[in-house]
Symmetry: C2
Subunit: 342 residues, 2 copies
């Protein structure tokens, strides 16, 4: 059997069986980042994520500056989803022999921009020539006070479900780039695909003020990442489909391209927004932050019994089961289905 | 200009300029691992290293079990060279779509073997399908008490130079595999190429007992890695060529293949032995450990003024400058020249 015949969950479970977790590790395999207790006061967070040419990006669609920027962002997003403060990072590069120094400089400029914005420091790495495709793999270390750590598994029935920003933009941006249509008329969508910004400050606020009970970043798509949270928190969820935040740009694009904006928002990946659950008694703290415009977030549903699974309520109040299968089928960003984070 | 036209030192210096180090970071770019102060009592060590198919290994020469084992070892070796205790690791995989699940299982068995031997725990990672060559990138976190940290830069004129184990075996093993000769008659050499063992216990002892003033692991070859230590410690070195430890297997192989065993020992990479300097007043501690057979190490030279560079003394007492150029020229393991650790 090849990798194609094996789902990502089978694969992660196979690994977990071979590497049984030790009770001394606060968070091991299976969350956005690992949490390790090197220090008595703080947990050290560790995460790694790669961008591979032809799998995650194409030189025809983006510059090396953007690849560098995005490689940092996707890792920042994982630390943000734990409520952590990102600190230090390492870079592993696989470079085709024909790569231009100009491209490398652009890559490092993009990395430097993203790391300056986030206040993180490069502390090492490793560079190798490869006969295959270019790849960049970043490992990011952060920290969080043990009481502030937000896991995927902390949600309970009755908690409200929120999401930051708008969804589906990055997937629409990719569809647009691939279609060969003029990308300039939808530059917001294209920008979100090429240079996503991680919600580091939002993650910190939601953790520091003890608002979120569970949190995950949306890299694979809303339903897929909500599925991870549901599985690990042992809950189901109702989504208010009319509340799913869709940008004006995505609405315009959907109209023009004759596609369903909601499909992009539910199933499109790479938005790097935060999806989080909030217990009812903490709602006032969040609503205050939203009212003061400190956080841009919207309630999109609530968590229910795990037996009920994932349900969508449309604008007429009609309930429909959202099939997990629908996810793979409707997947816009095919290659991302082949990427698993453990 | 492409990467081919740029040396590895230019490249690392270029990166260092773009990412100025912060004084708050105990060790940033440019040593075997970064050292970070997450905790008041201990430094957290962080290193990353990759193995790429066709660059670092060939399926014709080694099994996936061996690739997994070695991917862990090369990272353990970097932590060992700082005097640290390895703790937790992350895996990034790039998988060609046609990879067999059997191969993946073998890879993870090799990783599990090496991690069990070293007592380290897998805490996360990331797996992606790539259209290019298979790669595995491991990030390893360890720790060390601030006073025990051994850097490349700690050596002084007059310190004695030691190396653990024997040198040149791994490079000869690779030459043997590539030559198509019967590898079984030199299984020790082949084994050291395929499944190198990191000197973790030795590194810990040398640090804990405050024996080593500077240390580096030999991944690029003795002269190359000694060159890093010389540059960062601002010293030169005399090597006693007759003392360079060469295994009986390498001697036999050199005789049979009509090559110079010393060339392999001086310029061959991937032995993952530890090269370290010892101030004269600490020699008694080391000699006791060697006498008790706790550490297998031998004195191969001493550190001299930086103006004198690198000098070799042959068995007749004749001194010859060892040219850094000789390194690239005589390099056995070509692809390793294209791998830089920062």
């Amino acid at each position: 059997m090849t990798m194609k015949g094996m789902g990502e969950f089978d694969f992660i479970e196979r690994i977990q069986k071979r590497f049984p977790s030790s009770e001394k590790i606060p968070v091991g395999i299976g969350d956005d980042a690992a949490a390790l207790s090197f220090s008595p006061n703080n947990l050290t967070l560790l995460t790694t994520d790669s961008l591979i040419e032809k799998t995650h990006f194409d030189r025809a669609y983006c510059t090396f500056f953007q690849v560098g920027y995005k490689a940092v962002s996707v890792n920042l997003s994982d630390i943000a989803a734990m409520g952590g403060r990102p600190r230090y990072f390492l870079i592993s590069l696989g470079l085709p022999p024909d790569i231009q120094i100009n491209d490398l400089d652009a890559l490092y400029r993009g990395i430097a921009r993203a790391s300056r914005e986030a206040g993180i420091h490069l502390v090492g790495g490793n560079t190798t020539v490869t006969q295959g495709n270019f790849f960049i793999s970043i490992t990011l270390a952060g920290e969080v006070a043990p009481k502030r750590l937000v896991r995927r598994s902390g949600a309970s029935e009755g908690d409200r479900l929120y999401v930051t920003g708008t969804l589906g933009d990055a997937a629409a941006g990719l569809a647009l780039l691939r279609s060969g249509d003029d990308p300039y008329s939808f530059s917001r969508l294209v920008h979100r695909q090429q240079s996503p910004m991680a919600r580091v400050n939002e993650g910190l606020l939601l953790a520091d003020q003890e608002i979120a009970s569970a949190m995950i970043d949306i890299s694979d798509g809303l339903t897929a990442d909500l599925g991870h949270m549901m599985k690990q928190s042992h809950v189901g969820a109702t989504l208010e489909l009319a509340q799913i935040p869709i940008s004006p740009a995505l609405k315009r694009y959907a109209l023009k391209a004759g596609v369903d904006a909601l499909d992009f928002a539910l199933y499109g990946g790479e938005d790097y927004e935060l999806l989080f659950s909030v217990p009812e008694k903490r709602l006032h703290k969040l609503e205050r932050l939203i009212g003061e415009d400190v956080i841009q977030a919207i309630q999109i549903g609530r968590l229910i019994s795990t037996r009920k699974g994932l349900v969508g309520r449309d604008d007429k109040g009609k309930l429909n089961k959202i099939s997990p299968k629908g996810y793979d089928h409707l997947r816009l960003n095919q290659e991302k289905t082949q990427s698993t984070q453990s």
